[in-house]
């Protein structure tokens, strides 16, 4: 069967959804994302990052493992110490007509625009075919199937550093005849809501959003100069909108998941919650547009950053209310 390439908002949820659809399970990207409790917030300052950063999704790999655990789908997964063996196994699977997902360093995806390609080891693509020394790749961020030379794919699969892929590949091997979507959806919701409001870690969930709001006013002291600060502030927009989130830091995709879940389970409460998170997402989008504009104008004095901080604090309050209500709802539906 020919692999149907389709763009998706996010590389991991899009890759998992595409492989499952190819294997015969009709499932949307938002459903994959929601069941795996993909929605998240974390604010990080680490030696591994040149500047403070934040993430708006769960840990890389958890979308696949979360879906597998809650739906009963089974994936064959492999990592390799030896790159030659990793290449051989991939080639063998492809010659058997099996599309295979690979974890890669985004930097080597040459078919994407230069300005978006950064070193990050958690980009997922589906390799569909090998033609000579070139691989045919289905990347959720590319409008069409793309070609990637062997050397680039090998570098991307075996890059070192944080979240080093070590040649990681996976593909589905079994799909259950019947999936208990009710349980899978509610478990996914409960887990996401718990991560957002109950985890006792100061930089995770709603606490992480508040930490971001508190720290963003200190960013000028960490920047080399005004252009560097502008770059980092404008990256807020990229992290929320452009870096494979479906808009507003995955909040719009989560709204779509809750809406789809409400139809699947015939549950009007979920419909109401989907409208609420869509509105929350709209305000996140205002933040990202505001960040882009003040960054471009270099209007980054204490007043403007204070304004940005206040907007982020407001999102923390709204998400605290939302995820507390969602957690209560998930408990009441058990």
């Amino acid at each position: 069967m020919t692999f149907q390439h389709k763009m998706a908002a996010h590389c991991e949820s899009g890759t998992v959804a595409a492989l499952l659809n190819h294997a015969g399970l009709s499932i949307s990207e938002p459903l994959v994302f929601g069941i795996s409790a993909g929605i998240f917030f974390g604010y990080f300052e680490s030696k591994k990052f040149p500047f403070p950063t934040f993430v708006v999704r769960n840990r890389p790999g958890q979308i696949r493992t979360g879906v597998a655990r809650r739906t009963g789908v089974r994936f064959k997964e492999r990592r390799f110490r030896n790159p030659e063996k990793g290449e051989r196994v991939l080639d063998d699977l492809l010659s058997g007509g099996k599309p295979v997902a690979c974890q890669t360093d985004f930097f080597y995806m040459k078919y994407l625009p230069d300005h978006v390609r950064v070193h990050i080891n958690v980009h997922f693509i589906t390799v569909v075919e090998k033609r000579g020394d070139v691989y045919v790749v289905s990347d959720c961020y590319s409008p069409n199937l793309a070609e990637l030379d062997r050397e680039s794919l090998m570098k991307a699969r075996f890059a070192g550093g944080s979240f080093s892929p070590r040649g990681f590949i996976f593909h589905p091997v079994s799909i259950p005849r019947r999936i208990d979507y009710r349980t899978a959806i509610w478990k996914g919701i409960a887990s996401a809501a718990f991560n957002m409001v109950r985890l006792p870690i100061p930089f995770i969930g709603v606490k992480g959003i508040r930490l971001f709001a508190k720290k963003v006013v200190d960013w000028p002291s960490l920047a080399r100069d005004i252009d560097h600060l502008s770059h980092e502030i404008m990256k807020i927009n990229i992290f929320l909108e452009d870096q494979g989130t479906g808009g507003a830091g995955f909040r719009f995709m989560y709204a779509t998941f809750l809406r789809e879940a409400s139809e699947l389970l015939n549950d009007p409460d979920l419909l109401e919650m989907s409208k609420r998170i869509m509105e929350i997402g709209d305000r996140w989008r205002e933040i990202s547009l505001f960040a882009a504009r003040i960054g471009k104008r270099r209007d980054l004095g204490p007043d403007r950053l204070g304004e940005l901080s206040a907007m982020i604090y407001e999102r923390a309050d709204a998400e605290e209310r939302f995820f507390n209500d969602l957690l209560k709802l998930s408990k009441s539906k058990k």
């Binding site: 990052f49 978006v116 719009f252």
Partner: protein, 155 residues
């Protein structure tokens, strides 16, 4: 977000956004990147300025070319060390012009793989005032040897 608010006409960088459609349902739409369309010039301005600034530091002997590529690649010494599989202390030394000379060819190749440049790019930059020049670096089977082809493009 309403579908009409998501629409950005920019073919060069397409992405998927989830929106509220005209019929009230939620779903994906393919659109252009707002930030790329509106702010890409600013991005390249900052990038060129950074390149120039750090190239001057290399020229003055304040930093090594490794530090130059590390900053442009938005990596930290600790992340770079993990990527080239060398100790962080050694990498920090390699960032200085003084210790750059002590690097082995094998270590240099590891850095080059991370930055996706050839070994020769670590030792020189090509500057020209000629327009329409086409410069292609051709790889060979020898990982330490490349062929630089310079030709004049058609006007």
């Amino acid at each position: 977000m309403k579908e009409k608010d998501a629409s950005v006409d920019y073919k060069e960088h397409q992405l998927i956004l989830y929106v509220e459609k005209k019929d009230g349902t939620y779903g994906p739409v393919k659109t252009g990147s707002y930030i790329t369309k509106n702010f890409i010039d600013d991005f390249w301005y900052k990038r060129k300025k950074l390149e120039h600034e750090y190239l001057e530091k290399v020229r003055k002997g304040e930093i090594s070319p490794i530090a130059y590529y590390m900053v442009l690649g938005e990596l930290t010494p600790s992340e770079l060390a993990a990527r080239v599989r060398l100790g962080a202390r050694k990498v920090k030394k390699h960032l200085t012009a003084r210790y750059f000379g002590t690097i082995t060819l094998d270590q240099l190749k590891r850095y080059c793989d991370v930055f996706n440049v050839s070994p020769v790019d670590m030792l020189q930059v090509i500057v020209t005032d000629k327009k329409n020049l086409k410069i292609i670096e051709e790889k060979t089977d020898n990982p330490f040897f490349t062929i630089l082809k310079i030709s004049t493009g058609k006007k």
